[in-house]
């Protein structure tokens, strides 16, 4: 792992104002993403996992400059991209693409599939009309659609097919980074496998780098090289996928892995299940944000925030597992 990373995120924060309206009202801030840092090398797949409301989607949107981050830096191929305006971002849009969770919402219902797939080519002025059409048909065939589908509308396709359309659109500009925001969680399990295989084939044939967001650990294990676990807008543990699943360190990661349904296993042990809901990010707990639900919590967890620490690329943010004795 050397050279310039494809994507490097450092101390990224994103917060939203909530509550009072108007210039004089009291505003409180919702810290959705809190000082997140990671790097993503070429050809690598990094999975972000965590509960709903953990800031995964916001992080993805901020990294893709769809919602500019509040602070922090995002470097794409070594170049700072925060603070760029739309015009300067446009060439970068060719290199970073997104796939969205809901294939029913991410395709314009008024456009035929051919126009949807060819739109990125049109926007970036690639080829004339006939060339774009040819290219769109080739892309459609690459993702397993038929050339005859080009004049049909999104509502005439199933969820899996729509996600294929969205993928064809995303790879049309030959990007090097694809940010996939829960690309399979809206699909049936049998279709999930097909779409994941398609994404994997594209990665192998085109050397794509993925930032892959999911809450489904089985999918992540199957697909990712590295995993970052998010809790309340922070990364609490990051490691190579195998390491993380075989030897999780952070108690939250352990609880997540334990919470996976496993066929054939009897009653899950009550101790493995996390009590309660994630605390409100409006009023995050002091110290380690996980301490109110943590089975290992100690006094110091309430007082100071743990840092991500560890060796060999396996780092966790927990006083107890990192610090040894008190």
């Amino acid at each position: 792992m050397s050279g310039t990373p494809v994507l490097e995120v450092r101390d990224l924060c994103k917060r939203f104002p909530v509550g009072g309206k108007g210039p004089f009202a009291d505003k409180s801030w919702l810290n959705v993403v809190n000082a997140v840092s990671f790097r993503l090398d070429k050809g690598e797949t990094l999975a972000l996992v965590g509960e709903s409301g953990g800031g995964k989607t916001t992080l993805a949107r901020a990294a893709a400059m769809l919602q500019p981050p509040t602070s922090g830096s995002v470097r794409f191929e070594g170049r700072e991209i925060t603070g760029l305006d739309n015009r300067s971002l446009k060439p970068l849009r060719r290199r970073i693409q997104m796939i969205f969770q809901d294939p029913y919402g991410s395709l314009n219902p008024r456009l035929p599939v051919g126009a949807i797939i060819a739109e990125p080519l049109l926007v970036h002025g690639l080829g004339d009309k006939a060339e774009r059409r040819q290219k769109a048909i080739r892309l459609a065939e690459q993702v397993g659609l038929k050339a005859g589908d080009m004049s049909r509308y999104p509502h005439q396709f199933s969820g899996g097919q729509r996600q294929r359309i969205a993928i064809a659109r995303a790879i049309a500009l030959q990007p090097c980074l694809i940010i996939a925001d829960e690309p399979v969680s809206a699909l049936d399990v049998s279709i999930q496998g097909q779409v994941l295989n398609l994404l994997r084939d594209l990665r192998d044939s085109r050397g794509l780098t993925y930032l892959f967001i999911s809450h489904d650990l089985a999918v992540v294990r199957h697909f990712a090289d590295r995993v970052a676990v998010m809790y309340l807008g922070r990364i609490v543990e990051t490691a190579a996928a195998e390491t993380l699943f075989d030897a999780p360190r952070h108690p939250y990661t352990r609880a997540l892995i334990a919470a996976q349904p496993v066929i054939g296993r009897g009653k899950r042990m009550a101790a493995d299940c996390l009590p309660g809901d994630p605390p409100s990010p409006l009023d995050p707990p002091s110290g380690c944000p996980f301490h109110p639900r943590c089975p290992l919590a100690e006094a110091r967890c309430r007082e100071s925030k743990p840092e991500l620490e560890g060796e060999g690329g396996h780092r966790a943010a927990c006083h107890v597992v990192n610090g040894g004795g008190t």
């Binding site: 893709a64 769809l66 849009r93 997104m98 991410s106 739109e119």
Partner: protein, 359 residues
């Protein structure tokens, strides 16, 4: 049987269902046909109601006075001015060596009948079917031309105010935030102005013609659509396909017009017939007050005013009222049918029972 073609164009199943819904509203459906018939007829008013003959044969040659001006000397008259074909002298000349083919009504909207047996306004007679107004002009001719100018004015006003309204609403909804806030406050102030009063003041400063009047009314009528379009854009800007377009690098303007507007058109189209009828009413009321179209124009409002001034001549007020009532009712019925056509509940209810393609 599924028919996915309409007027020779292939249409999506959704449009087909909307057409079915429109047809299902029988009242609106027939209103549309009656309205289109009336409108087409009045568009060709020059061939039906005119003080010039359609065709003249004189000394072996054919003339079409509706299209071309001929001087009196052509027909053996004395002056090089345009021929007055109702002049008994000319009538005699032409009858001597040819013939004239007249339209149904031999009066134009500004033709004055000087041969009235009674003082104007004259009651209905064989010559003037609905009588004349207080300047001796034929009421039928004025109604037909007045209908046409009302509708054309309404259509033009609807067209322009929709363009401005959609653009303003789109900008507000799409950009949101401070743009939206300031624009909304401006609209609140602007819509708080007493419109008719301002129009009267403006109309008394300048002598309004058709286009001036259109511009003046446009100053206020564009606000009708802003709210609806703004709401649609506020909703749509957070749709995933809009985000996807942004991630592709599509420009804001393209996103607004290619991705959001087609999805926001339903609400806009539903409003249009009502804006049209509203525009007609506004023009009529200005004309009624005497601040509308220039004097001499065929206008329904001016006729209504005459009806009010000449209560002894009820044919003025009653016929104009009748025409206005019919026109506005037709427009409202059409608007209701359009609303039904785009009503998603009806659309999908029809899908569930009819074609069975609902999910």
């Amino acid at each position: 049987m599924q028919r996915d073609r309409f007027l020779g164009l292939s249409i999506s199943p959704l449009s087909r269902r909307r057409l079915m819904n429109f047809r299902a509203n029988r009242r609106g459906f027939w209103s549309l046909w009656i309205f289109l018939l009336l409108f087409t007829v009045t568009l060709f008013a020059e061939f039906i109601v005119n003080d010039k003959p359609l065709l003249v044969k004189f000394q072996g040659a054919y003339y079409m006075p509706v299209f071309t001006e001929y001087s009196e000397t052509t027909f053996g008259g004395d002056f090089p001015t345009e021929t007055d074909y109702r002049d008994p002298f000319i009538v005699e000349k032409i009858a001597a060596d040819g013939w004239m083919l007249w339209p149904l009504v031999r009066y134009s909207y500004d033709t004055i009948n000087y041969d009235l047996p009674v003082p104007a306004p004259a009651p209905p007679s064989a010559e003037n079917w609905l009588g004349t107004d207080d300047q001796g002009r034929d009421v039928v001719a004025r109604l037909i031309y007045g209908f046409r100018i009302s509708i054309l004015f309404g259509l033009a006003l609807t067209f322009f105010s929709s363009i401005i309204g959609v653009a303003a609403g789109a900008a507000q909804g799409y950009f949101g935030g401070l743009t939206d806030l300031l624009f909304q406050r401006f609209i609140e102030v602007w819509s708080g102005l007493p419109i008719l009063y301002l129009l009267i003041i403006l109309a008394s400063i300048i002598e309004p013609n058709f286009w001036w009047l259109l511009g003046l009314l446009l100053l206020f009528s564009w606000m009708a659509l802003v709210g609806v379009v703004r709401a649609e854009f506020l909703r749509a800007r957070n749709f995933d396909f809009v985000r996807a377009a942004r991630a592709l690098g599509v420009s804001n303007v393209m996103i607004m017009f290619k991705h959001i507007l087609p999805n926001a058109m339903v609400a806009t189209l539903t409003f249009m017939p009502f804006i049209l009828s509203g525009s007609v009413v506004t023009l009529t009321s200005l004309d009624f007050l005497g601040f509308g179209l220039p004097p001499g124009s065929p206008s329904l409002g001016e006729l209504l005013n005459q009806g009010k001034a000449n209560l002894q001549a009820p044919w003025l007020g009653i016929t104009t009222f009748f025409i206005l009532a019919v026109m506005l009712s037709l427009l409202i019925f059409i608007g209701e049918a359009v609303r039904d056509a785009f009503d998603p509940r009806k659309t999908f209810a029809a899908a569930g029972t009819g074609t069975g393609t609902g999910r």
